[in-house]
């Protein structure tokens, strides 16, 4: 990359004919396919819209379930719903709102708007977004559809065993497997978004110039990466208990139901902030715009968002205050739960300070933002109340909590989200939403919400427990419940006004002028309605609010005077930049329309759905098909050798078309994915040591362990495979092809032997995973590590094949870089597993 005369404008940009030709080429390259091929799109503007519409669809479904709940509880001893139906309804209401709306809508909105906020044209892995979307759609329909067959989960969205391990039917399996499937999509999106913020910022946008929304996406993406995997580990243990009777949660055989509660809430509490922070991020974009000035305290808000993210991982026990924990734990987690109010408060005061310094323009997004503040502050304050453990002894599992959590979720998520939709609607569609309908929607929603949920604080204090399908009429709860029900319907009416406004035919709607809110951030440089290519040119950024700070910005943008104003080769291109100072490091070719994403998602859906019904043959075949389609996807769609080494990217600069290693997006994606994977693994290790803490002696003296010889052999063999894989990368880079291929082949053999040795440990000692939690957790660790090693073998074989096919060469070595990175993590997993199962029994 040459960096001569960064600000010399190419003379051609003065010529409107040349510009028109550029636009035509861009338009052709980024064209959305028509007809039924539309569904093979992968571009963020299509996938983002599908994602948002689908998430709102699930939200409406879950909202109807909420109305059913309120209808049933309108009067005492109601027989509108049976007990069993009610239990399915409330379980699905919570499950769908959390897993099919609150988290996915963050990803949906981020996928849609993040490229625009970063002045770029797409996210680094468009097919991954599309794949994630299809997983989300299929999984969500599967989970929600179950209620129409009276087969929905009915164990509560928290699924506490042993209730859920004892339940017959497939409800619990639908929850476990259907949601695991969706969590795959969540993690895929998180990887995509993190890499997007780190590596796809426009040139010049140093990390401290990142729009606040980008910061929040980064933080929340990181949180997803550390919060979802423990749940996936929990789901894995849970389904092993349900399908194969491995007694992780069965106290009769050494298990403990509380292990699930820990794993669930290690996920479940950060999840609250995973939901909350992205919506605050929308406010962080909206508030400065309508205050007409930059955010007051950029560093404050970034640091406090980070602080909230960190603290949220130390609070999970406050969901378990009533489980009989020692007072010292109660005190610690009370204090930690109170502490999170501080960074949250800072973020709110940053907004207030911004409003105070600016001159506020009244608008529908601001109305929703203020409504959000009123509701969220109330929810946060009741949160401070329930964080005081003694008060929680009364409030816990009562309607007080129902009120509290809805205040935090509506104020911290739904109202800001609606504000964000009103705000970004013109950017995505080119039309304005109606101000009049917006005001109606706001007041109906705001009043309805408070009428519904404010009385519930009192209902709870009067002793009404949660999750009851009915209640007696003589306890003083009747009026309160009726009022709540009325409020719920008022809210629903308001929400429908909003949905109507968003979806109504646009023939009478007001067309949006460019930058209709007079915002300062880069996304508003887009023409409205936006072209398929997104950004006309990828801008050079020197301030947080370029449209306010640089009066020539818009003109230069329109004239294509920044980066990549053209698609000379007819390819979709975007820039990859360095992580901290956003120097261009690559001109990246991103993928266009393809069906492989949908095909892979369908195959993977087969794995999860067939497993729900315990149709193991079909599950296995689906698994094989998934593997084939992933290999096909990678082989045909990645690691492409470009037709030339580098190209001019505008502003007098050139950038390479192919890079590998830590500068490339693929390496980062692997790194981030494996960090999440490692977290899930640590969830299993946590399980092992949790059993150690609850038993007097663990491992139990009367049960044979895997011994130390086989685990030691497995550890050595797998680490040997790692060393050889790493060596292979170096030999390849040096051009020593023979040594490279020999090393890879040896690595494959060592890994296979390692898997064998790993399995031999518990097998040779006849450890029966159904007999006790100890053999079960040992087998779970062996299974996890073995499966990862097997995946590692497939990757090694892939590299070997790619080398023989001439795709993997010393110059084009992305594949071996990423596989070696995978094996770094694999080596740690193997080391930790063998040390724990082989070594720990020797010292305990």
């Amino acid at each position: 990359m040459k960096n001569e005369m960064a600000h010399r404008h190419g003379p051609d940009q003065d010529d409107p004919w040349i510009r028109a030709a550029q636009e035509a080429r861009l338009s052709k390259a980024w064209e959305t396919p028509g007809g039924w091929r539309y569904w093979s799109s992968v571009n963020n503007s299509e996938v983002g819209i599908w994602y948002i519409v689908t998430a709102f669809g699930f939200m409406l479904f879950a909202g109807v379930l909420g109305l059913l709940i309120r209808t049933q509880l309108a009067v005492p001893d109601n027989e509108f719903l049976s007990a069993e139906t009610y239990n399915q309804v409330f379980t699905l209401h919570g499950t769908a709102m959390m897993f099919l709306f609150a988290v996915p809508i963050f990803e949906a909105v981020a996928i849609l708007i993040l490229p625009a906020l970063l002045g770029t044209r797409d996210l680094p892995f468009p097919r991954l977004s599309a794949f994630g979307y299809w997983c989300f759609l299929i999984g969500g329909v599967f989970v929600c559809g179950s209620i129409f067959f009276n087969a929905a989960p009915s164990g509560g969205w928290f699924m506490y065993p042993p209730l859920t391990t004892k339940q017959g039917g497939i409800g619990a399996d639908i929850w476990l497997l259907g949601l695991s499937f969706i969590e795959v999509a969540s993690i895929a999106a998180a990887v995509e978004l993190i890499v997007g913020v780190l590596k796809c910022r426009p040139p010049g946008m140093h990390i401290n110039l990142t729009p606040l929304y980008g910061w929040y996406v980064l933080i929340v993406g990181g949180m997803i990466l550390f919060a979802f995997p423990p749940l996936i580990a929990g789901d894995f243990l849970f389904e092993m208990e349900r399908a194969f009777d491995w007694p992780f949660f069965d106290p009769e055989r050494g298990g403990d139901p509380l292990l699930w509660q820990h794993l669930f809430w290690i996920f479940g509490h950060p999840e609250v902030y995973i939901i909350f922070l992205p919506s605050i991020a929308l406010l962080a974009m909206i508030v400065p715009t309508f205050a007409g000035r930059p955010i007051a305290g950029y560093s404050w808000i970034v640091l406090s968002a980070l602080g909230t993210g960190f603290l949220s991982f130390g609070l999970w026990v406050h969901h378990m205050f009533a489980t009989g924990l020692p007072s010292i734990s109660l005190g610690f987690f009370s204090a930690a739960s109170e502490a999170v109010a501080i960074p949250t408060g800072i973020q709110i005061f940053v907004f207030i300070a911004t409003l105070m310094l600016g001159k506020v323009v009244r608008s529908v997004p601001m109305l929703f933002a203020l409504g959000a503040l009123a509701i969220f502050v109330a929810g946060g304050l009741t949160g401070v109340m329930v964080a005081v453990a003694p008060f929680d002894f009364q409030a816990h599992d009562s309607y007080f909590i129902v009120a509290h959590l809805h205040y935090t979720l509506f104020g911290g998520m739904l109202f800001p989200l609606v504000a964000g939709i009103y705000y970004y609607y013109p950017l995505m569609t080119g039309y304005m939403m109606s101000r009049r309908l917006g005001v109606w929607a706001f007041w109906l929603m705001f009043a309805g919400f408070n009428i519904c949920f404010l009385p519930m604080h009192l209902t709870g204090m009067l002793g009404m427990p949660r999750r009851v399908f009915t209640y007696p009429g003589d306890l003083g709860w009747n009026t309160l419940n009726l009022v709540s029900t009325i409020g719920a319907f008022v809210f629903a009416a308001g929400f429908l006004v909003f949905v109507f406004d968003a979806l109504r035919p646009k023939s009478h709607a007001e067309k949006a002028s460019r930058n209709p809110w007079k915002a300062g951030t880069v996304e508003w440089a887009l023409e409205l309605p936006p072209g398929a290519w997104g950004a006309r040119t990828i801008p050079h950024i020197e301030s947080r609010y370029p449209a306010w700070d640089d009066h020539s910005f818009m003109r230069r943008y329109d004239e294509g005077r920044f980066y990549l104003p053209d698609a000379e080769e007819g390819r979709r291109e975007a820039l990859v930049t360095s992580v901290l100072d956003a120097q261009p490091v690559q001109c990246m070719r991103v993928a266009g329309p393809t069906w492989i994403t949908l095909a892979t998602a369908l195959c993977l859906a087969g794995v999860f759905i067939f497993a729900t019904y315990h149709w193991w043959t079909a599950t296995f075949i689906s698994g094989l098909l998934t593997l084939c389609s992933i290999v096909y996807w990678l082989w045909t769609g990645t690691g492409e050798h470009p037709e030339k080494d580098e190209k001019a990217i505008g502003m007098g600069m050139t950038a390479p078309l192919y890079i590998s290693g830590p500068r490339a997006t693929g390496w980062w994606a692997m790194f981030i994915t494996m960090t999440g994977d490692l977290t899930a693994f640590l969830g299993l290790i946590f399980g092992y040591f949790f059993f150690w803490t609850v038993h007097d002696q663990f491992p139990p003296p009367d049960i044979d362990g895997p011994g130390w010889t086989w685990p030691l052999a497995a550890g050595l063999l797998l680490c040997g495979s790692w060393v050889l894989t790493y060596g292979a990368r170096l030999w390849n880079a040096r051009g020593d092809m023979l040594l490279f291929r020999m090393a890879l082949l040896a690595a494959v053999l060592l890994a296979l032997a390692g898997i064998g040795a790993l399995v031999m440990g518990p097998l040779a000692h006849r450890m029966d995973p159904t007999a006790h939690a100890y053999p079960a957790i040992v087998w779970a660790l062996v299974l996890w590590t073995g499966a990862h090693a097997a995946a590692g073998v497939i990757m090694q074989l892939y590299c070997l094949a790619a080398s023989f096919a001439g795709r993997l060469t010393p110059k084009y070595d992305t594949d071996i870089w990423n596989v070696a990175l995978y094996w770094h993590f694999m080596a740690f997993t193997a080391f930790a597993t063998t040390l724990v199962i082989g070594g720990f029994p020797l010292v305990s």
Partner: protein
């Protein structure tokens, strides 16, 4: 107790102070209300609740007032320092101080006690969806077995030993104190002290399956002397009418396979102990008044009153036989 009638204020907007008034006025309605305390813990927590509610309402009004004033441009000529003062003052200093005080205050109420041998112990065992209860006074050898109703002496701390047979339940008597989970494989302990004689209602607070909503119990708080007499009475067999026709039908219909009646049948232990059922206030674990009519309804088809209950329906029995069993049970005390 207040003389005012309970009154609920419907308020548009999160006006916590108004809600607080509604709370205050309705404090007297519930046998199950945490705001009409009849126990030591419940009193303390109720006070904590009122203090926190007042504080929270004031803070809410301050924050929202500031935000509204900022939006409307009521702050004239803010200096460059104003935002920092606001962020540091409102976001850091103020909450740190308030939360510190709250923690010192609140955490003093955490349970801090040891088992003492001279304390009454009540072992409550949660099952889907009822409660097995056993009393053990300090000098008592045989525990007194009962079900679905708990009697307590006023002014004495009682140690509850909580276990579960099947799934997680949570033992909660809002008028007397906080709740504690009953977890399979574990034993949890809760110390409660009732302060005011009367009849209250406890419930299961942890979702425990189909009829979670139908898992309640009556709580009767006596003066200590009265309680001792009651417990003494429960150590002896109930009065069983020897020529009661219901007694024969009870035995011949197989009821005894699951239910124990002291002095009559000691075989069954699957279902609730019925020894003194005639004296209990409710049937079906706190879900219906204990009348012969309700008892007959229950025996005929318990699932109609409590979905998915384990007890089978006795629709096959002639109604007059069921009525006879119900009469027989009503007289057991």
């Amino acid at each position: 107790m207040h003389d005012t009638k309970p009154e609920i204020t419907i308020s548009f907007g999160p006006c916590l102070p108004i809600a607080a008034m509604g709370l205050l006025l309705s404090g007297c309605v519930g046998r199950q209300s945490a705001l009409a305390p009849a126990g030591h813990d419940a009193e303390q927590i109720s006070n904590l609740f009122w203090v926190m509610t007042a504080g929270v309402s004031i803070i809410w009004a301050l924050v929202l007032g500031t935000a509204l004033a900022a939006t409307l441009g009521l702050f004239k000529n803010p200096t460059r320092l104003t935002p920092n003062i606001l962020i540091v003052g409102g976001g850091v200093v103020f909450p740190t101080v308030i939360l510190g005080i709250l923690l010192i205050f609140g955490l003093r109420l955490l349970p801090n006690w040891q088992s003492e041998p001279d304390r009454l112990q009540i072992h409550v065992h949660g099952e889907q969806w009822w409660w097995r209860v056993a009393y053990r006074a300090p000098d008592q050898i045989e525990p007194v077995i009962s079900a679905n109703e708990i009697h307590l002496p006023a002014g004495q701390a009682v140690e509850f030993v909580l276990t579960s047979a099947d799934v997680i339940h949570s033992f909660w008597i809002p008028s007397i104190g906080g709740k504690l989970d009953m977890i399979p494989g574990r034993t949890t302990r809760l110390l409660l002290e009732a302060t005011r004689p009367g009849v209250y209602r406890g419930v299961c607070a942890e979702y425990c399956g189909t009829s979670h909503a139908k898992m309640a119990f009556a709580v009767v708080v006596h003066e200590p002397k009265e309680f001792n007499a009651w417990l003494e009475d429960r150590t002896s067999d109930p009065n069983i009418g020897t020529d009661d026709p219901g007694r024969k039908i009870f035995l011949s219909s197989g009821c005894a396979a699951c239910h124990r009646i002291r002095g009559l049948t000691e075989i069954g232990s699957v279902g609730p102990d019925l020894s003194h059922i005639g004296s209990r206030r409710t049937i079906g674990a706190g879900i219906a008044e204990n009348t012969p009519k309700n008892l007959a309804r229950w025996i005929t088809d318990p699932a109609q009153m409590k979905p998915a209950v384990q007890m089978p329906a006795y629709r096959a029995l002639p109604p007059e036989d069921i009525a006879a069993i119900a009469r027989f049970l009503s007289n057991l005390n």
